[in-house]
Amino acid sequence: MGYAPHTHDDRRRMLEALGIESVDALFADIPPELRSSPLRLSPPLPEQSVAARLERLAARNRTDLASFLGAGAYRHWTPPLVDQILLRGEWYTAYTPYQPEVSQGTLQSIYEFQSLIAELTGLDVVSASHYDGAAATAEAALMACRASGRDRILVSRAVHPQYRETLRTYAAGAGVAVDEVPVVGEGPAAGTTDRTALERALADSARPPAGLIAAQPNFFGLLEPMAELGAAIHAAGGLFVAVVEPVSLAVLAPPGAYGADIAAGEGQPLGIPLSYGGPYLGLLACTNALVRQIPGRLVGQTTDLDGRRAFVMTLRAREQDIRRERAASNICTNQALLALAAAVYLAALGPHGLRDVAAGSAARAAALERALTEVGVERLFPGPYFDEFVVRVPEAPAVHRRLLDHGVLAGLPLALVEPDDPLLADGLLVCATEVTTDEEIELFAWALGEVLGAAAPRRQPTTAGAGGGR
């Protein structure tokens, strides 16, 4: 089925107006020796065949598992109104709001998104938007370099490994050195950023740091002493970049309260489906002092000629289409529709609802910890956590594979993402949110006990399968 709507008669009338026989005349300027070989594509498929083909492929993804996977993307209940609003043509197919007089809806929604994320982060300026948490974190690092005139970034190894990889890619191009700050190996602070090592890294006066990047909660689900980390980098004249998970901000201190200059993060938990890793939503916010360094679109409130309240893209001199090689970033197309999803989600839940989601998730994670402890599985790091934590499971990758046969997606074996770190070799990062059911937790604990040959065999749970999350 094609989507080219012209009728044969319309095409003929246009060709006649142009005084040509065939559309080939319009491609005559392509040098003959450079013309394309034929497209090696199949004939057009009817829509139902396309749907059937994609459904067959989709069926090869297992979606029947009880999932305890977080590690940067999280299952939450999304009120159906979020998708209903997104699917309206006024949002879905609308062009970039370069013409504010006909784009007030989009522009106001972006302003509201900025306001909601500013409330959550306790910061003043929110860019709308970035590709994902990793790209937003990399942009935050480059911002810190521009603002400080320095070219070295410190990043805690307790920041998501894929964010650090992305940071290294961006930094290589920008000529920025990335130094990783290790995590504490043992004791009460195990799994959090090593502050002694941080002090050593800060002391390198030959190449002072532009900033420090730390995550709250960190990749292992643990809470970091963010105020202390921020104070340390500030004392060294650098900026503090907090990588945050937005749902947690309903119960944790916001970055603005503990002195972060920039917050970056993944907005997916705010009403955006998992969708195999994307499209997601990169969050980037900063203090007023950094407003001219922040990349990406900003919408401001102003008035029209008649004095009516109105919204417009502003401070455009930072952007690539105006500033070209001196722009703050090359970002153009962003994740606007998903910024809308986050705004609708936050507006629908309100502050009480979001706190319920956060508290509910933390409570389910605590229930998961209790259930795993009962089968003899302990946490690897002792500190406080939000909604995910690491447990010690010998041969975690193999155990993880065997649990799939029991219908359990047992989180993430850390050896798969950090193969060279002996501290993490037995680590299994597991997560629970408000959509995790008692039955799922029971199944996980039972199956893990089975696989590990745990001491006290328990009755196999009767109810299995994934809950209502997405």
Binding site: L26, L305, D306, E325
Partner: protein, 371 residues
């Protein structure tokens, strides 16, 4: 192309991916002197911005009077410092680059690589394959060519195709096919030559599945999409050329878009392109991109695409002609436009002078969760 990465989240990130791969290619050969990327002056702003992000210096190349790259000027800046040339083809003027073969040959002879900004791929499907022509890398935008809705500014995706030289440098993780026919993702560190990751996870998967469905539905008829887009643009350009109210700077056939100018109109009536664009709103049309490319005075970049009917194309041309008449007879009507939109023209200077970027609680301190 020899391979494609689907990881980049948007066209601009695709550009960064491509230029970082080119950087890695030169460095892998110990060729550290190549610090410049040549960019025609008609390019999208993302091209020079990308060049800077990847650590290169942008060298702007002027256009020739026919809208293509000026070959003499190109030769003059080409040399041992040239890492790559970035060419948008068709260009942002809607023109197929007439000397594309020479440009690719010259940059290759100088030891640089050829990058194609494929933002305008929707004009040339089935007519021109950048890989066959010798380009070493190109990105394309799924929202421009493969039906992804704009969503007010995203999400899109910016896949990048590469020739054989750049395959080792593709972002990680790639999807690998095992001998038994199953698929898996590359493991961390499995391919050290990779430039690394551009983002978390694997890409804007949901967007890519839709683009794949669009490609399956069209199959080899994708060529028809380009033909209709090009036919519509040429028809509209012809209608305006016949009327004569607007300047049409390039007479030769355009591809999917063309540039018109309110240059003469401005000189004769004082009405500018901005006024024309705002008045189009009253006629029920979303204005085209204006004042771009920057190289064309009072520019309107008009792109009808394949999806607008002949009736709509005619109505749009009629509206532009009517606005030109209004510019002469009732210029204040045009200057005050739009009159039918929810708001009139905005005070953009005030917005930038004293930015109001978020709602502020009136009390100064809110307690949203009183317990």
């Amino acid at each position: 192309m020899a391979a494609v990465t689907l990881q980049p989240a948007a066209g601009a990130q695709g550009e960064l991916t491509g230029i970082l791969m080119i950087r890695a290619y030169h460095r892998s050969r110990g060729d550290l002197e190549r610090t410049e990327v040549l960019v025609p002056d008609s390019a999208h702003g993302t091209n020079p911005a990308t060049t800077s992000m990847a650590g290169f210096r942008t060298v702007n190349v002027p256009s020739a009077p026919d809208g293509g790259v000026d070959l003499d000027a190109f030769r003059a800046v080409l040399g041992p410092r040239t890492a790559a040339v970035m060419i948008t083809n068709p260009s942002t003027l809607g023109l197929f680059e007439p000397r594309i073969g020479e440009l690719i040959e010259l940059v290759h002879a100088a030891g640089g690589l050829a990058y194609m900004d494929g933002a305008n791929l929707n004009a040339i499907m089935g007519r021109f394959k950048p890989g066959e022509a010798g380009f070493d890398a190109m990105h394309f935008n799924v929202h421009k060519t493969f039906s992804t809705p704009h969503g007010g500014g995203g999400p899109g995706a910016g896949p990048v195709g590469v020739g054989p030289k750049l395959v080792p440098f593709l972002p990680t993780p790639r999807v690998l096919r095992e001998p038994d026919g199953t698929f898996r993702l590359e493991r961390p560190g499995e391919r050290p030559s990779s430039i690394g990751r551009l983002r978390s996870f694997v890409g804007n998967t949901g967007v890519l599945v839709r683009a794949y469905a669009y490609i399956l539905a069209h199959g080899r008829d994708l060529a028809l999409v380009s033909e209709d887009a090009v036919l519509a643009a040429n028809y509209l350009k012809h209608r305006l050329a016949v009327d004569g109210s607007y300047d049409i700077p390039f007479e030769r056939p355009c591809k999917h878009e063309f540039v018109a100018q309110a240059k003469t109109l401005h000189r004769e009536t004082g009405i500018r392109t901005l006024d024309v664009a705002k008045r189009l709103i009253d006629y029920g049309f979303h204005p085209p991109t204006i004042y771009f490319p920057l190289t064309v005075e009072e520019a309107m970049l008009i792109e009808p695409t394949e999806t607008e009917s002949l009736e709509t194309l005619d109505a749009f041309a009629d509206a532009l002609v009517a606005i030109a008449r209004e510019a002469r007879e009732t210029p204040d009507l045009v200057r005050g436009a739009p009159h039918t939109a929810p708001v009139r023209r905005l005070d953009e200077a005030a917005a930038a002078r004293k930015p109001n970027l978020r709602w502020q609680p009136l009390t100064g301190r809110e307690t949203p969760c009183p317990d």
